[in-house]
Amino acid sequence: MGNVLKIILQRLALGLLTLLIVSIVIFVAVNLLPGDFAQSILGQGATPEAVASIRADLGLDQPPVTRYFQWLGGVLQGDLGTSFAQANFASFTGTDSGATTVAQQIAPRFANTMFLAMVTAAIAVPFSIMLGVLAALYRNTVFDRATNIFTLSSISSPEFFLAYILILFLAVLNPIFPSLSNIFEGMAFSERLEKSMLPALTLTLVVTAHMMRMTRAAIINLLASPYIEMARLKGLSPMRVIVKHALPNALAPIINVIALNLAYLITGVVVVEVVFVYPGIGQLFVDSVKIRDIPVVQACCLIFATAFILLNLTADIMSILSNPRLRHPK
């Protein structure tokens, strides 16, 4: 087991290193902006004194390397900086309007996005594994082909097309779910669930295809192995052969692809959140991009990258743990 622990620790260290470099990339990218925040906040007619004062306030007069470490140190302590959005800018000029820090702005939205991702995962994972098992069981039949065409179409459509189709059929023509997901704090769980149903269904359509195809392929790969033939010759039913004998051995690639798709979920929510006006981190990100609220953009980017790297890391470690050949490298 010591060997496994070593590999996992190595991967974790590599992940942390990647994250560090990603943070540098993000920081450098943001610093490519011409001029600086102070100038763009105050506009053309600002007096040099005012600009200098704000620059000192934000630490913009420091050299880039110092600023990077200050930013990184802040991030590690949970301080993501202060939003530059117009409403929040008031605090700099002394008129306090309950200005929020970036962390305060992001925290509740991050929770919302996680909620959406979890609801989606709860629907999509069982659904796609079931579809995959059925497609493997009835391979090369009409059912298999229909599933193939359906999933291929849904994965290759843009998210907003799927979203509008779902709105059309499930919200407008048949009012089953609300088309706007106005979620707020203190909402009952059932109501929250109902409001996030359409975005969750859209995301389900997006991620199902990949997981289902992987499940099908992994199972079919195993069907030629001798122990499956043995199970068949024993006279077990095809369903039992697949669920009891093939599926457990096919779990490694399936778990891997599930983790990868969850990583996609965290980042793929942007468009879906915008369509449904879901108050998640993706929408905040797009809004901040539009008004060029750099600290928020920076922080969101870092959070997305962290989630992405963590889930990829999980997929990596899972596949090592479930594969003896990787667990005991020669």
């Binding site: 994250l19 059309l168 953009v297």
Partner: protein, 399 residues
């Protein structure tokens, strides 16, 4: 509602049993029915029920009562469209089997219907994209004088349409049909150019890394690792924010920045593939022979490696094009991609999206955003079908 669903399920379960039993009795216990598991029988009944429901819904869509017809209007269009596409694909395949060279005939003979549908769609899109200026009745930015804004598609004056503008006009009175056609040129053209650029960058660097190895390979690969650790849409949005500040200062259109940004981000994936394929080729004897002949690096990459890596790169090109196309559509939909007044499908969906909410009373009004979104979906689905078929064919037709 739930009660009805349960009753229907129980009814179908019973029907499945009856169906299998009847099959066994009528055919004198033919193997097909004798060995049929209950699940399969249930599947047949479920499929039949779904088919019956679709037929019923279609007749509802043709109902003379307006409210009911409105409710099933989109289902009707979907069914009609599906059948129409299937017939078109079938006719196209029959044509392909009888016309053309021996090679193309052979190709069409082994082609599934989905692939022929894909090829037909791609050809039609290409025609629209290339000849947009000739086909489109109006200019893409042209606000036609004396024409109202928001004319409903369908061309029926009683429903707020205008036969002159069959697909209606948008919020400032531009012809939607013309914008859709020009959208093919802009959206598809820009996506195609971006993919080409991504392949040029990623392919060249990947082959170079595979051929030269050493520190160049290490540096490039680690850079690509880092870039791939940032989710691509997020990274694209971040860079677009920065580009949107630079663009007006440098006087370069934002679209050019978008093409470069997306091409660079996507070239990382191409690099990975090109490097992996290249490494397999570099160890071949003929490369060794070419090196001994004293051939230069350019000759090695373009004359020896590239021709042998065409097949996997071509399939990747199709997939990459889909990703790039969807990324551009998503960026435009979010408002930071292709900029107005250029006609673009993603932007059109965003601008017209609100009309979906009128579907119950004015189904025709709701078709406008769906047309643009559907145009995107149709092309990516078509390309995916073709790539799927190509991959299946090159994998040796196994399961």
């Amino acid at each position: 509602m739930i009660l009805w669903a349960v009753i229907a399920l129980v009814g179908m379960a019973a029907l499945a049993w009856v169906f299998r039993f009847a099959g066994q009795s009528v055919t004198g216990n033919a193997p097909k029915f004798r060995d049929m598991p209950y699940g399969v029988a249930f599947g047949y009944v479920l499929g039949a029920a779904a088919l019956l429901w679709l037929i019923w819904a279609y007749t509802q869509g043709r109902s003379s009562e307006q409210a009911i017809a409105n409710k099933f209007f989109f289902l009707r269009i979907a069914i009609e469209g599906f059948i129409l596409f299937a017939i078109a694909a079938w006719v196209f395949r029959v044509l392909g089997r009888s016309v053309g060279t021996a090679w193309s005939k052979k190709m069409f003979r082994s082609m599934p219907l989905t692939a022929s549908f894909g090829i037909l769609t791609i050809i039609i899109y290409a025609i629209f994209a290339i000849f947009a200026g000739v086909i489109a009745p109006y200019g893409q930015e042209q606000i036609i004088p004396g024409v109202a804004a928001n004319i409903v598609p369908g061309g029926d004056p009683a429903l707020g349409g205008d036969p002159e503008f069959y697909f209606g006009t948008d919020q400032i009175g531009r012809d939607i049909l013309s914008r859709l056609i020009y959208g093919a040129q802009n959206t598809v053209g820009i996506a195609f150019a971006t993919t080409l650029l991504a392949f040029f960058i990623g392919g060249t660097l990947g082959f170079l890394a595979a051929t030269l190895g050493g520190w160049l390979d290490q540096v490039l690969s680690r850079m690509v690792d880092v870039l791939m650790a940032i989710p691509s849409l997020i990274f694209a949005l971040l860079l677009m924010t920065i580009a949107s500040v630079w663009a007006p200062q440098l006087g370069i259109p934002l679209t050019v920045f978008m093409v470069i940004i997306i091409a660079v981000i996507d070239s990382t994936r191409v690099y990975r593939l090109a490097r992996a394929v290249g490494q397999n080729i570099v160890v071949m004897d003929y490369i060794e022979a070419a090196k001994l002949r004293g051939e230069g690096l350019g000759y090695l990459v373009f004359k020896e490696i590239l021709p042998n890596a065409t097949a996997p790169l071509l399939a990747e090109f199709g997939l990459r094009f889909c990703f790039v196309f969807l990324t551009i559509a998503a960026l435009s939909f979010l408002g930071v991609g292709i900029q107005p007044p250029l006609a673009d499908w993603g932007t059109m969906v965003r601008d017209l999206g609100g009309f979906v909410n009128y579907a119950q009373f004015a189904p025709l009004a709701a078709t406008a955003p769906l047309l643009a979104a559907g145009a995107i979906a149709l092309l990516t689905v078509a390309v995916n079908f073709v790539v799927d078929w190509m991959l299946h064919k090159s994998s040796g037709l196994k399961e």
